[in-house]
Symmetry: C2
Subunit: 144 residues, 2 copies
DNA sequence: CTAGGATAGTACGATATTCGTATTATTCAA
DNA sequence: TTGAATAATACGAATATCGTACTATCCTAG
């Protein structure tokens, strides 16, 4: 791969730093509304993306101690947002899935994200929007 | 403004949800390396972006209680990353600025962001990269 | 086929963080 | 010039995070 020009990269970095900061604030607001903390929300979104994942997977992905994740999952179970169950294939682990309530909550977050994305598209004309979405998808689908 | 097609918006939302999750994880990793917590890092980035801002500005932007921000700023001052000073124009408030150490820390984060951005550009060819950066800047510069 | 080690998660207590209330200092305005 | 409004801090209660110790399950070498 040919490295992109340094200036291009610098500008992109600044822009994305702002984007993520905005998304994060939007997320924090929504978290407060649902009286969930930031970690719990991230866990919820990861489980939505990875059904039947194990507790350790979430902990590793979110870079927190296993015990911290265990507490987080406790809270989410207590709030009726996710379900634990022991898979027969490996009864040491717990598989995690969203309940309907959890799905509804995720949908609420996604709506917030959607509003933010909509605002992003605003300054672009229709052709530019199509381009931007196409390139974004190309990046997103290129799994790391 | 004409609303973008629903499907376009949905796809963009999913892609950006993943982006921000990745950035957040990268940030958490860097935060742990500097033994700072998530809030402190966000505060640092905001102050970098808004020199001489007031403590209340940061609290409002990051949607946390004023006392929480006060604690966060305490920690950052103790770690020698920012400086408080009372502006003569309004001696109730405190103006916040990064020290050299704080600037270095921010630069470290930006480097992490830059790596993540670089990885994003990887699946695109040079023409697409130029397009993507151009459109991203157009969005970022359209201040909300 | 079973004993020892490895893996997956939980219980519990220590430390740190967040937040609400009360307080101090400063500014504004009637 | 006094009272209300603004800006931040002090302090204590509630909560979150994390490390250590523990339980349960799985794997594998003898």
């Amino acid at each position: 791969m040919i490295a992109p020009p340094a200036e291009q990269l610098r500008q992109l970095t600044l822009a994305f730093e702002r984007f993520t900061r905005r998304f994060k604030v939007a997320e924090a607001t929504a978290a407060i509304a649902n009286s969930l903390n930031a970690l719990d929300v991230q866990a919820l979104l990861f489980i939505d993306d990875n059904p039947d994942c194990k507790l350790g997977d979430v902990a590793r992905h979110l870079q927190v101690a296993l015990t911290t994740m265990s507490s987080s999952i406790d809270r989410l179970v207590r709030r009726g947002m996710i379900e634990r169950h022991r898979p027969e294939t490996n009864r040491r682990s717990v598989a995690l899935n969203l309940t309907q309530g959890g799905k509804d909550t995720v949908a609420g977050y996604m709506e917030g994200y959607q509003d933010a994305c909509n605002a992003m598209l605003e300054p672009l004309d229709p052709a530019e929007r199509a381009d931007f979405v196409r390139l974004t998808l190309k990046i997103a689908q290129h799994e790391t």
